[in-house]
């Protein structure tokens, strides 16, 4: 098959995935957005979490031989973006699970991980819990004994309250600087979990604080390679983080565009006040720019361009920052209504700010990026 034909199939597949995500969002998420956001004071949308599994959203970066689709990061980005336009919590769940799987994918380059993959292909093994909002340098990391038993605490383990398995880092008892990744069964003895942590946004993608006391766990990949696995995962999932933020931003823009056409003040549709238009224009520019950057970064990754990791990291930071700024404006364009739960805007603003914390603190990630660039320039 020539390159053009392969590209054509790829585009069609992507389109199908994007349609599927849109369809899922409109059927499962839109109508219940406010209700779902009420968690932990209301019910968690467990049925939707299960349905996402049925359509294969948790297997996008899982190898095909273990029940995944192995479709890669363009597909994952497309799903996250389309879901986030409606309600980013579901995207947060898919993101967290994909981050955990990516740790295993990275480890599988060093060791045979088929037993782990087999474990995950069992029914209801996915989504996996993971500290998707914390960088490894800013984390309180538990310790692992020589026997592979973990003791310590993990703050805000995302999905820790609802998942069967968790992927988490631990320091080797023999050598505190060596960090390895482990997978453990969250139903095991010795685990205490807090109530769901009530946080700013993404309420239906909840985290818990977990306290571990000699909990048996399975080492993922090689011992002491945790930081390397984390960094590779961070680069891959940066694309997902950018897509999630971009989706929120797009949702906010579309809601604002519609509202400013419907709302009259001063005898005209408010969209016809040029101050309002300018805010919309700034949002639109950020979307167009973000979209192009994301597509370029996905292409770089698919085509093995050497610089892709830096591009991915930069756009994740940049788009998340733009989404925070623009969703604040997205609320503003709806005036008082934007501040109320009846419209999606306030939720998008909250979600965007929490999404900015995906993969770790933004300033720390900026420093890591420039460290890498400086190292390469020497």
């Amino acid at each position: 098959m020539n390159i053009q034909a392969t590209a054509q199939i790829f585009t069609e597949e992507l389109q199908a995935i994007s349609d599927m995500a849109k369809n899922f969002a409109s059927k499962e998420l839109v109508a219940k957005r406010e209700e779902n956001d009420h968690y932990p004071f209301g019910e968690l949308f467990t049925e939707t979490i299960k349905n996402a599994s049925d359509v294969g959203f948790y297997g996008v970066n899982l190898p095909a031989e273990y029940g995944g689709t192995g479709m890669g990061y363009s597909a994952l980005s497309s799903i996250l973006e389309n879901l986030s336009m409606a309600d980013a919590s579901m995207a947060g769940i898919i993101f967290t699970n994909a981050a955990a799987i990516e740790i295993i994918n990275q480890a599988s380059r060093d060791t045979d991980c088929s037993a782990l993959y087999n474990m995950l292909s069992a029914k209801e093994a996915l989504p996996i819990a993971f500290s998707s909002f914390t960088g490894i340098g800013e984390m309180e990391i538990p310790g692992a004994s020589e026997k592979g038993e973990i003791t310590g605490r993990i703050n805000f383990l995302c999905l820790g309250g609802i998942s069967r398995y968790a992927v988490l880092p631990a320091r080797e008892s023999t050598h505190g600087a060596r960090i390895s990744y482990y997978i453990l069964d969250l139903d095991k003895h010795g685990i205490k979990k807090s109530e769901p942590v009530y946080s700013l946004g993404l309420h239906a993608c909840p985290g818990v604080d977990v306290f571990l006391e000699k909990v048996p766990a399975i080492l993922i990949g090689l011992s002491g390679k945790g930081i390397k696995y984390f960094q590779s995962m961070q680069s891959h999932l940066s694309l997902g983080a950018a897509a999630l933020s971009l989706g929120i931003l797009k949702g906010s823009f579309m809601e604002a565009l519609q509202y400013t056409k419907d709302r009259f003040q001063g005898g005209r549709q408010i969209i016809n006040w040029s101050e309002v238009r300018m805010i919309l224009a700034n949002m639109a520019i950020e979307i167009q720019a973000g979209q192009s950057c994301l597509a370029a970064a996905c292409n770089e990754l698919e085509n093995g361009v050497t610089e892709w990791e830096k591009t991915a990291c930069a756009i994740a930071i940049h788009v998340a920052e733009m989404a925070c700024r623009a969703t604040v404006d997205g609320v503003q364009l709806l005036g008082g209504n934007g501040y109320m739960k009846d419209y999606g805007q306030e939720k998008r603003m909250r979600d965007a700010h929490q999404a900015q914390c995906l993969l770790g603190m933004a300033p720390v990630r900026k420093m890591e990026l420039i460290d890498l660039i400086i190292k390469e320039s020497q």
């Binding site: 004071f41 909002f133 914390t134 960088g135 340098g137 800013e138 703050n155 805000f156 942590v197 009530y198 946080s199 700013l200 946004g201 985290g207 009259f264 003040q265 001063g266 005898g267 005209r268 006040w273 101050e275 309002v276 805010i279 925070c324 604040v328 609320v331 503003q332 005036g335 008082g336 934007g338 501040y339 109320m340 739960k341 009846d342 306030e346 603003m349 909250r350 700010h353 929490q354 900015q356 914390c357 770790g360 603190m361 933004a362 300033p363 720390v364 420093m367």
Partner: protein, 504 residues
């Protein structure tokens, strides 16, 4: 002094250029003109200390839980704090002594609200939005009603039944429009007060009214002609229990959850003449200014004092976010060293500290502009200033029937409506807008920075930074959106002397 000496004429010439001192250094002008600035200083430091004590004893123990309670049950009202504020005398703290209040200078109100907002903006609003209602009542210069309602607030303090005042102006179809006389006639106005024998019959609804459900009095702005609201504005004092008035739903908000935002519904609600604060038909008599101009003065006087208050809320939020991030960064280890010892973090914290202090300097400038040009101007006039400070309260109570004399209202309206200089309007209104959008934007910037600096911990409700962001966002919206305020600044301080300029 150097070699160069200015002649008086020269000095006048150079000082007449823009920016004029009187336009841009309001504090200097105030300290020059206001008597007893030492007394003012003492009032401000007392107000700050009082607010800090209130924070320690009342706000800090409960504010996070109140936020959760409302999230869980939108019907929850924080009566405990409302009762405490009443007990502490906060509902009369800034009411002039001549009306039975404690007479603390209004300039002190701004640092006072910043203090409470630095812990919880929602509760700061609960405590202080009462003064939005009160300021609106005062802007009508109906001395009889000002006296009557203020004394009821005082009685509420004595009896332990809080008597709060809300302001109801926003309607479902008109938010920005009702804040600006140039827009209102093009707006979709629905709340109509029809003159009937012995009073007004009101129909319509108001939305987003802060403290609605917990207030006793509601200063209602309505119109007799929906096609010409700018010239047919009526200000009424509506009391709970009046026939035809009821509360509607409570909004489900992103932040400032402690402060209920209420719908007020009027169905043939009869408001007797004695509760008419101000009606357009009174204003058109013997007037050197048009009704619309007077109404704009009333609006300017209200929003100038309250916009500076919103700016102080925002500085409170910015400060709370800064203080939370600072405390966090002292404990948090990032890449093996305390966060506070990363140079980039020090730089971010310095930036946040700067925002707080620039914001405070700005809202104080606006407070001084209000003291010289706005609602508080009358209180800055020497005899009144001294009287309110030195004459004991019982004396005012004795002479208070004087406020029932129509001539008193006439006199104060003459001074504050008809003799009110355009230049004063421009300075107070322009500055209020400048500080309102300037400080509230800084509020968002600082709360965002706190989250960036704290990562996911900044998003946790139990740690406390995220709430400042949710609370701060409202400040960019109410008291005129920041967009309206930018145009208002432009109109008052930039475009005023340019005949080609047209706004709206």
């Amino acid at each position: 002094m150097g070699e160069i000496r200015l002649t008086r004429k020269e000095k006048e010439k150079y000082l007449s250029h823009d920016p004029k001192i009187t336009d841009v250094i309001n504090s200097l002008v105030t300290h020059y003109k206001l008597p007893k600035s030492k007394a003012l200083y003492k009032q401000i430091d007392t107000a700050i200390a009082l607010a800090r004590k209130f924070n320690e004893e009342v706000v800090k123990p409960v504010y996070k839980q109140i936020d959760l309670n409302v999230t869980q049950d939108n019907e929850y009202l924080c009566w405990d704090v409302i009762n405490k504020a009443n007990e502490w005398g906060f509902n009369t703290l800034f009411i002039p002594k001549m009306f039975g209040g404690q007479g603390m200078n209004l300039i002190a109100m701004y640092p006072f609200v910043e203090e409470i907002a630095s812990v919880c903006v929602g509760l700061a609003n609960v405590v202080c939005v009462h003064y939005l209602g009160f300021a609106t009542l005062c802007a009508s210069w109906n001395l009889k009603l000002m006296n009557e309602i203020s004394r009821e607030v005082k009685r509420g303090e004595k009896t332990g039944n809080p008597c709060l005042i809300s302001l109801a102006i926003t309607e479902p179809g008109a938010g920005t429009d009702v804040e600006e006389t140039m827009l209102i006639d093009r707006g979709r106005i629905e709340t109509i007060g029809q003159k009937v024998e012995g009073g007004y019959s009101v129909n319509g609804s108001k939305i987003f009214i802060s403290n609605g459900h917990v207030s006793t009095w509601h200063i209602l702005i309505c119109y007799t002609n929906k096609n010409k609201p700018s010239g047919t504005t009526v200000m009424l004092a509506v009391k709970n229990g009046m026939k035809g008035f009821r509360f509607g739903h409570r909004e489900k908000k992103m932040g400032q959850k402690a402060c209920v935002a209420s719908e007020l519904i009027f169905e043939n609600c009869f408001v007797p003449d004695k509760y008419v604060c101000m009606q357009w038909s009174d204003l058109s008599e013997r007037s050197s200014k048009s009704v619309v101009e007077v109404i704009q003065t009333v609006i300017d006087n209200v929003v100038s004092s309250t916009r500076a208050g919103v700016a102080a809320f925002a500085v409170g939020a910015a400060r709370g976010a800064y203080e939370t991030a600072l405390a966090y960064s002292r404990k948090k280890i990032v890449n093996g060293i305390p966060l506070i010892n990363h140079q980039w973090a020090q730089s971010m914290l310095a930036e946040m500290y700067k925002n707080v202090n620039m914001g405070r300097a700005a809202y104080m400038e606006s407070a001084y502009a209000n003291a010289m040009h706005g609602l508080a101007k009358t209180l800055s006039v020497r005899p009144i200033f001294y009287a309110d400070m030195l004459v004991p309260s019982w004396c005012f109570t004795m002479i208070s029937p004087i406020f029932n004399l129509k001539i008193m209202t006439w006199l104060f309206r003459l001074l504050n409506f008809y003799r009110y200089p355009q230049e004063s309007a421009e300075i107070q209104s322009g500055w209020a807008s400048l500080t309102k959008f300037g400080c509230t934007d800084l509020g968002i910037i600082n709360t965002q920075k706190a989250i960036q600096l704290m990562g996911i911990d900044g998003c946790r409700h139990d740690i406390g930074a995220e709430k400042y962001l949710r609370d701060a966002k409202l400040l960019q919206i109410y008291e005129g959106t920041n967009q309206l305020n930018r145009i208002n600044l432009f109109k008052n301080l930039v475009g005023r002397s340019m005949p080609e300029v047209k706004v709206f």
